[in-house]
């Protein structure tokens, strides 16, 4: 473990390029289903943060950051789907539930923690079963981003940053 491996060297990979590489024909059907499911979950998060920002249910700086991340995740997933023959991804997103989730900033943060946690779990499921191993690194890097969103939201909620082990 060396400090010479600097944080400044920690650069994002060209994730969109990697995601866009087509898989073998045999692997595409199942992997496409998984990508569509992940896209739907990311679209749900995007809609969630848009609504929270509009309702002042999230601190603007945090909300804009998380929303920007979700848009990048969606862009990558849509590229991956288009590269696999899905010209118009089928995934659709239901409107966010209106109610207590947006009643206050802490309430929204806790609601968003649940949605982000569910999404991280979906990525973990996909990483376990995807046939195209080229997708694992870029999808894993999105999963890692989602895990960090959970920490940011715990901080916003005033909770412990790490859940009890």
């Amino acid at each position: 473990v060396s400090r010479d491996l600097s944080r400044r060297a920690a650069l994002a990979l060209p994730v969109g390029v990697i995601l866009a590489r087509p898989a073998s024909a045999a692997a595409q059907a199942s992997d496409v289903d998984q990508l569509e499911r992940l896209l739907a979950l990311e679209q749900r998060l995007q809609s969630l943060y848009e609504t929270a920002l509009a309702r002042d249910a999230v601190e603007p700086g945090l909300g804009e950051t998380l929303l920007a991340h979700e848009r990048e995740h969606i862009r990558g997933l849509e590229m991956a789907l288009r590269a696999r023959g899905r010209r118009s991804p089928r995934a659709t997103v239901p409107p966010p539930q209106v109610g207590t989730a947006f009643a206050s900033r802490p309430a929204f943060a806790r609601f968003a923690i649940d949605v982000e946690t569910e999404t991280v779990g979906a990525y973990q499921e996909a990483l376990t079963t995807l046939r195209n191993t080229r997708l694992l690194l870029p999808l894993g890097s999105i999963m890692a981003s989602g895990a960090q969103h959970v920490v940011a939201l715990r901080q916003a909620a005033g909770d412990e940053l790490l859940a009890p082990g």
């Binding site: 473990v1 945090l62 998380l66 894993g140 890692a144 920490v151 940053l161 790490l162």
Partner: protein
Amino acid sequence: MLGSLAAFEHAAAVAWGAIAERLRGEARGYARVIQAREERHAERISALIRDLGGEPPRGRPPEEYAQGFPLMRDEDEALRFAADLEEQLVRAHLDALQTLPQEEQRRAVSEIAAEEAEDLAVVYAVSGEPAAQHPFVTGTL
């Protein structure tokens, strides 16, 4: 690959012990929690190796690892080392996914990668930086 990950987690657990010594208050508390997580990761990966009939690497004495750690004269230096360490851990686990054929192996390593990403976010947060900084968390080695 699993052996390398187990060895890395052993080193990381010791590193977090050293980092904790340089931190105070809440940051030190998180460092101790993360140290325990790294120990659990090492054990979980070691179990996967045993399932394959292999012998996982054992942890070495802390003083052997310490020779490879950077100088940590204050909290800022300790947190910089912690961020470097966690970035490398995230990347190592994501890289390993591509080499693992069994679902159980991939599940374990992806779950550990998510926890490492959380740990990195905690380091950012206690450093006064945004916890979630990038849409794609892929540090490079």
